[in-house]
């Protein structure tokens, strides 16, 4: 009986996967027509990778870090420097020229992404040693500072020959097609899910719940904190690299603290400690901002200009929606639960009951 249920769920998942691939194929075939939708979806998927990697740290290991933008910057610049076609580099580094050491350094984008991850992981390993001695808010402030330092270093004129300082880098080759972009994001998230469900994931969670008890079980606290920090930074770096490929031109302002807040928003909205929550949050937040552009345009109904409808108003609406979500879903959309077909089934079955109850109370009000 139980076996049957599992295979049924697998069948549903397979259908859902084929459906997604079908949609991607359709978008790919008409990429000129749907370029706006595609760009939103790609950005969402990349944010989902970074959000899940932040969740791995904040939600599953209980380390509140705000260094995401810094590690993304490291990843993005690594990918950019390694993938900009050598023959166009002169035009990119038009101010001070390019450092000879990196002038002809070029590799395929997948290798660049792996190197981006490894490079940010290495930096995380170094700064993790002092920083991970701190806890909660103090850790957040230290990593926040680190992130700003990275941004300042990247935009420093002294590094013009490597990072092109405040002029940014452009001509980064785009994804060859949609499937590569989504496939890479999916792969990163899958790897993190496998990690969370392994015995390492259990150790991370134990650390989050109770450090004293975790230590009494023989867990080496520092080793696991460092491990979580390094792995999370690896995927954040890869996410930054993906963002660079997606945006095709980057500069240090892209990686300001606002980027970290966006990711934090996604994690909190989706549910701290839920991978599916982070993925849903990434798509909702990224797409939501675009849908709400409607509020930025002046609106005239019956010859009357409706006030407030002007550029910038959508962010007001967006913030109000966020507050509403946080008030009504205290623990985010998914809480710390993961998506399951049973859960979806329960939700759908419960809708008629909720409606019934609602109509009952309304009747009661009338009487």
């Amino acid at each position: 009986m139980k076996k049957k249920a599992i295979s049924k769920n697998k069948l549903y998942s397979l259908i859902a996967l084929l459906f997604v691939i079908g949609i991607l194929g359709m978008l790919q075939a008409n990429s000129a027509q749907y370029s706006y939708q595609i760009s939103i979806l790609e950005r969402s998927a990349i944010y989902a990778v970074v959000a899940v990697s932040m969740n791995l740290l904040t939600g599953f290991t209980g380390l509140f870090s705000l260094g995401q933008a810094g590690f993304m910057a490291i990843g993005a610049y690594t990918v950019a420097i390694l993938t900009i076609p050598a023959d166009t580099r002169a035009s990119v580094y038009y101010v001070d020229g390019i450092a000879p050491a990196i002038a002809n350094l070029q590799c395929p984008f997948w290798l660049a992404l792996i190197l981006a991850g490894l490079f940010s992981a290495a930096i995380a390993a170094i700064i993790g040693i002092p920083v991970l001695r701190l806890k909660s808010d103090y850790l957040a402030i230290a990593t926040l500072g680190f992130s700003e330092i990275i941004r300042a270093v990247i935009s420093a004129p002294q590094l013009n020959k490597i990072t092109n300082g405040s002029y940014g880098l452009k001509n980064i080759p785009a994804f060859p097609n949609l499937f590569v972009a989504f496939g890479l994001c999916g792969l990163c998230i899958l790897l993190m899910v496998l990690l969370i469900n392994s015995s390492y994931g259990r150790a991370f969670k134990a650390l989050r719940e109770d450090e004293v008890a975790a230590q009494a079980m023989g867990l080496n606290l520092f080793r696991y904190k460092e491990l979580a920090f390094v792995i999370s930074s690896f995927f954040t770096g890869v996410g930054g690299g993906l963002l660079a490929i997606y945006m095709r031109s980057i500069d240090s302002k892209t990686f300001s603290i606002n980027l970290t807040y966006d990711i934090l928003l996604i994690v909190v909205l989706g549910g701290i400690g839920s991978v599916t929550g982070s993925v849903i949050g990434a798509f909702l937040v990224t797409a939501g901002r675009e849908w709400l552009r409607f509020f930025d345009n002046p609106l005239t109904i019956g010859g009357i200009d409706i006030p407030l409808f002007r550029s910038g108003f959508r962010m007001v609406i967006f913030s109000i929606l966020l507050m509403a979500v946080v008030l009504f879903y205290r623990r985010g959309i998914m809480g710390s639960n993961e998506f399951s077909w049973e859960g979806l089934g329960r939700l759908i079955r419960s809708i008629p009951n909720k409606l019934k109850r609602k109509s009952k109370t309304q009747k009661g009000d009338n009487a």
Binding site: R202, A206, D210, V212, A213, A216, M217, G273
Partner: protein, 236 residues
Amino acid sequence: MLKIENLKVNYGGIEAVKGVSFEVPDKTIVTLIGANGAGKSTTLRSIVGLVKPSAGSSITLDGEELIGLDTTQIVSKGIALVPEGRHVFPDMTVLENIKIGAYLRNDSLEDDINWVYTLFPRLKERSWQLSGTLSGGEQQMLAVARALMSHPRILMMDEPSLGLAPLIVKDLFSIIREINKKGVTVLLIEQNANMALHTADMGYVMETGRITLSGAGKELLADESVKAAYLGKKKN
């Protein structure tokens, strides 16, 4: 045998443990009783390396010095601690909690999981429940079960009866005896002197950082000053 000699621990100028010596022979139940602030928990925490004792102290397991090793190494030598106040992992299921107890082992857990489930049938029923939603008694049982999963030679418990109903305390102590019969040495810290001394082979009374009395469990129960201080009976 676990041997503690001249253990001294300072917390920033205050000497919490002032030269304590005692022995925990293999396969026995030894209890440390005493009032709040006597230094019992500090003693336990120094044994597992969570607190660093002052120079001159010595804690040896079969002649091997434990001071200076980190907690992971000490736990891997077969000493498990059930910390005071249970400390289960609240947002993990009962089964996950039990599995994390076996964290330092690489062999199959099946038999041991079954064993702790027979010791605590209640946990088996609740195996998929989040531990934070268990009652206090069940959480204590889970904490003991979790500690047993590391296959300890020595199980150390810090006030397991804290906040539990008398009937549950009785159950818990009978399980402690059962665990001991399987060959596990038990070092028990308790304020419930009556239960602890009835269960233990050997007892030590701690007061303000020192051991003031020691003897077989039954002897201490009969001791007039113990009766007066811990068992609520008037001196005649």
